[in-house]
């Protein structure tokens, strides 16, 4: 088999190359020729095509994402910002935290179990490659209609895959989201978040410095998985009788990843590593070009040394393979043996595949022939950047005008109808108990989980001596983003921020996973630009920098895109996790307050969706100053021990918030609906910036002064009791009652009936 090498690329420069089949545009191909001063070899073409893909180069999103860098708020907690594998935040006492969320949407539709499993695996490697020990995962998920015949397959596979991988790795699952909407039918969203902790001195970066240092590839062997389009190159054009089309599905090996975590942390802590990089999308191409261009700028690789699972792989395929559970480290020559010893201890194969040099070039040899000779930056960072056309979709006006007024959408107007609505809403798949899913995940492993489902945020104790800890939440109501992507992204951020503050943790940093349709659709691009701008503006206002994230485009079937879904993750810090506020109201006689203002805001609400299948109008208004004031009350209230419970108000409004608190506590309460508001609006409006808090009598004064000090409206609405009933009084002149048992059995039956 003859290999296309640099010499032959120079010698015969005009052969036809399948750049279009690899997803490169003619002008991108011309640009590569210009960079190299000749045609690329087949291996170079393969490298550029994957590294310049949307997934790796952010070519459509880059111009917008820049806002996260240009609108950074003054916040001195950011130790490593956007651009590295994951951002790093200072949480005090010498501790640092890194967290990031990433999508694995399309693979999870094709092969739900493995797609979701490898999604978890990928984000965990990003966290390890910063030098951190992964300590928790979260899984924001979105599926098509609950009763669609294909949803069962997708839900069961994805949930089992996330559990199968995360449980086996020993990472507690501390939260996530579970949302059903027909817009995700052929495009389920699997976003996976991982948090890691480390001491400041353990932070590591992906760069290949030190001329003469060895480049070591370790972990799983390289196989033919996840190669996708590159097989066109390898099998059809360059070698007609070559291997069959490679599988594009990757299979995960969580056991190998667990060993990889332990092995990597051991070599890092032993001071054996100069630079480190995980292998994810674009495999060795990405790892070598990124390491080289972030370091001294030169690297030579002997590609034939890579350990293979399948000996028939071509060099192009090896460069592109997305085989899971691999890492790449840069190690000083005199430390290579020690490094390999640690690998042996953990039963991990490792091999020196390259060397750092000062050539300024990334060169790759295959059995003595040079097959790649490129400037590494041109591969890793100088990909094309597009200013894609944007246009506000013409249907936006009609959608926003279609407000859910009482004339358009019938509302309950009697106590009997309110009770009927209450039971229907409890059984809505988006509001029902998530236990069927979360009980498939280990939330206890590592013994530091302070809060997990169904709490508003996950909370992990970082320091077992001082009790210092972190809280993380992810949120997005994509229907709000569909009604107004700018405000929708801000509302998602505000909800996530609030969920962290509810627990008593102070929000510090933001990550995001921006799931959208095709960037080649001007309407989608407009939604994207609006969402990014909304988020960046909000982060600037609230003083929380974006430390990283991920963009997933092309989530659409034919012309129909998913709802724009900017999932926002917020990380907060708490000085002592013993001070956390949970959502469980524990003590009879304590007072229940609603903080914030409830308006007639039902556009995009769960009620409009579940009862009427309606999506129209303008999403709830958001005043970030109000949000910030509310957060201060919640954080201060936790520190001072004023609050005995607190819970966020979002999907399903106050009715849902009270129900969730009652179910958590297995204890009833009586809520008197204030006279100045319509009972239906009080119960199901989804106005922003609200929380339910519970205080013992001797702290009511303290709560009042906290709230007035921050300008937060507090309304006492009732008290916790010893009963097993939730009672709403003042509902159109009557009381509406539901027993906890009835609420629980209704809520808990929904998911098992659909998917069990």
């Amino acid at each position: 088999m003859s290999i296309d090498n640099v010499a032959s690329a120079k010698a015969n420069s005009n052969i036809e190359q399948p750049f279009a089949a690899l997803g490169l545009k003619p002008d991108e191909y011309e640009r590569i020729k210009e960079i190299l001063g000749r045609r690329p070899t087949s291996s170079e073409l393969a490298m550029y095509s994957v590294m310049w893909s949307e997934h790796c180069s952010y070519k459509s999103s880059k111009v917008h994402l820049r806002q996260f860098g240009s609108k950074v708020p003054a916040n001195d907690s950011m130790l490593v910002g956007i651009g590295e594998n994951a951002g790093v935040v200072d949480i005090g006492d010498g501790w640092a935290v890194t967290f990031k969320v990433e999508s694995h949407n399309h693979p999870s539709y094709v092969e739900p179990y493995q797609g979701a499993a490898t999604g978890v695996g990928g984000i965990v490697r990003d966290i390890i490659s910063m030098g951190a020990r992964p300590v928790a995962v979260m899984d924001p998920l979105r599926f098509g209609a609950p009763d669609h015949p294909d949803t069962r397959r997708v839900v069961n596979g994805i949930v089992a895959g996330i559990g199968g991988y995360g449980n086996c790795l020993g990472l507690p699952n501390i939260g996530g989201e579970l949302i059903f909407d027909p817009s995700y039918q052929g495009n389920p969203l699997v976003n996976a978040l991982c948090v890691g902790t480390m001491k400041h001195e353990d932070i590591h970066l992906a760069k290949a410095s030190g001329v003469g240092n060895a480049v070591i590839l370790y972990g799983a062997r390289t196989g033919g998985d996840g190669i996708g389009g590159v097989s066109v190159l390898a099998s059809e054009t360059f070698d007609a009788d070559g291997p069959a089309k490679r599988p594009s599905v990757q299979v995960g090996d969580p056991f190998m990843e667990k060993l990889l975590i332990e092995c990597t942390l051991e070599v890092l802590h032993a001071g054996l590593v100069e630079g480190i990089q995980d292998l994810g999308g674009a495999g060795i191409s990405c790892a070598t070009s990124e390491l080289a261009s972030n370091g001294e700028g030169g690297m030579h690789v002997w590609l034939d040394r890579v350990l293979l699972r399948d000996s028939t792989l071509s060099p192009e395929e090896i460069l592109m393979s997305e085989s899971q559970e691999r890492m790449c480290a840069v190690v000083e020559p005199n430390k290579v043996d020690a490094f390999l010893d640690v690998c042996r201890k953990w039963d991990i194969e490792a091999v020196v595949i390259g060397e750092v040099n000062s050539s300024g070039r990334l060169t790759v040899d295959w059995h003595g022939e040079q097959i790649v000779d490129v400037p590494p930056r041109s591969v890793a960072h100088d990909g094309p950047v597009y200013e894609r056309p944007l246009a506000r979709p013409t249907w936006m006006d009609a959608r926003q005008a279609d407000a859910p007024t009482p004339e358009r959408l019938a509302r309950p107007t009697t106590a009997a109808q309110v009770r009927e609505t209450l039971l229907l809403m409890v059984a809505a798949p988006n509001l029902a108990s998530k236990t069927w899913v979360t009980s498939q995940y280990d939330r206890y492993v590592r013994g530091n989980t302070v809060l997990a489902q169904p709490e508003d945020s996950g909370m992990i104790r970082v320091d077992e001596v001082t009790g210092r800890g972190i809280a993380v939440s992810t949120d997005c109501n994509a229907r709000f983003a569909a009604l107004d992507p700018y405000r929708g992204a801000q509302l998602a951020f505000a909800e996530s921020y609030r969920n962290v503050a509810i627990t008593g943790a102070r929000p510090l940093a933001v990550t995001n996973c921006l799931n959208f349709g095709s960037p080649e659709d001007a309407g989608v691009m407009w939604q994207f630009e609006q969402a990014v701008t909304g988020l960046a503006d909000a982060c600037l206002d609230m003083g929380t920098p974006v430390t990283g994230g991920n963009v997933s485009f092309y989530n659409q079937t034919g012309d129909v895109a998913i709802h724009p879904t900017p999932v926002i993750g917020v990380l907060g810090v708490i000085g002592d996790v013993a001070n956390r506020t949970g959502m469980e109201w524990k003590t009879a006689g304590e007072s229940i307050y609603v903080l914030g203002v409830t308006r007639d805001e039902l556009a995009g609400s769960e009620w409009a969706h579940e009862i009427h299948g309606h999506l129209g109008g303008l999403p709830p208004v958001l005043d970030l100053n109000v949000e910030k004031a509310l957060a201060e009350v919640l954080i201060q209230g936790s520190q001072d021990g004023v609050l005995s419970a607190a819970h966020d108000v979002a999907d399903g409004g106050l009715a849902q918030a009270f129900i969730e608190m009652a179910l958590r506590a297995d204890r009833g309460a009586t809520i008197s609906i204030p006279a100045n508001i319509d009972p239906f609006v009080f119960m199901w409006s989804e106005s922003a910036s609200r929380a339910v808090v519970v205080v013992p009598e001797h702290h009511e004064q303290a709560l009042a002064s906290l709230c007035s000090g921050h300008g937060v409206v507090a309304t006492r609405v009732g008290s916790v009791d010893d009963s097993s009933e939730l009672i709403f009084s003042g509902v159109y002149g009557e009381s509406v009652k539901a027993t906890i048992d009835e609420l629980r059995s209704t809520s808990e039956a929904v998911l098992p009936a659909l998917f069990g």
Binding site: A160, G163, G164, N167, C168, L169, G170, D253, P254, F255, M256, K258, L259, W346, D347, T438, S439, Q440, Y441, D442, R443, Y444, V445, R446, G447, N448, T449, V450, R461, V577, A578, G756
Partner: protein
């Protein structure tokens, strides 16, 4: 001199840290043992922790059972040293034939993580002597293959000899025969338990602190048996 309790780490062990924390909170000195070392470093008792040794590939515990550390451990267990196998550790003890029966795929086919109510039904084993007979406790349970099976004769024998040390209450979470959550060997020094007492040792992170009883029990039995001084 305080008791020294070993906690074995196999490739894929996950709850080893938690077991060490529990042992320490109970007042013993925890000693980390490595699967590839054929020594127990002179410890007084051993915990085989939960997790997915060797990824639970093949069968849970089947590969770990052949680890070098298991050789001295099996011998010491036969000579009366207290050994507690939690979840994956229980599976390893069954695969090693230190305990009868086997653990099979949960009957509902899902991994399950829940706060589980248990009844303690033996107060003479090395790991349960600090509980009261029929005491009810709540500890986390998390497993994919936790259904205890054995033939009828073995089950009758276990029950007849009082060797069922804990049973599931309210919900049988995995289809275990006769609601069995844990058993011990004839001598009572080797105990296997599917639920995770090491996750119920601190109010902050566990549903209760009921799990501590298993670890304080072994300290007491070590003193009672004259293995360590009080």
């Amino acid at each position: 001199m305080s008791s020294r309790i070993g906690v074995v780490t196999f490739p894929g062990s996950l709850d080893d840290r938690d077991a060490i924390r529990a042992v320490t909170l109970a007042g013993a000195e925890a000693v980390s043992l490595w699967h590839a070392d054929a020594t127990l470093q002179g410890v007084d008792a051993v915990v085989l922790p939960g997790g997915f040794s060797y990824g639970d590939y093949l069968r849970c515990g089947a590969i770990a059972r052949f680890a070098p550390v298991m050789e001295p451990l099996i011998k010491a267990a036969r000579d009366g040293m207290p050994v507690l196998g939690i979840c994956n550790g229980f599976q390893i003890l069954c695969e090693s034939h230190l305990l009868p029966g086997a653990l099979t795929r949960n009957d509902h086919l899902h991994f399950i993580c829940r706060d589980q109510r248990l009844q303690i039904t033996n107060t003479t084993s090395a790991w349960t002597s600090n509980f009261d007979m029929n005491q009810e406790i709540v500890v986390p349970l998390k497993n994919g293959e936790g259904g205890f099976v054995a033939d009828e004769r073995t089950l009758d024998q276990l029950e007849g000899e009082g060797r069922v040390i804990a049973r599931y209450l309210e919900v049988n979470p995995n289809g275990s025969r006769r609601d069995i959550a844990g058993i011990c060997n004839e001598a009572g020094n080797v105990v296997g338990l599917m639920p995770h007492p090491e996750h119920a040792v601190e109010a902050l992170t566990g549903p209760t602190v009921d799990g501590l009883g298993f670890f304080t029990s072994v300290l007491k039995s070590l003193v009672d048996n004259g293995k360590v001084l009080a």
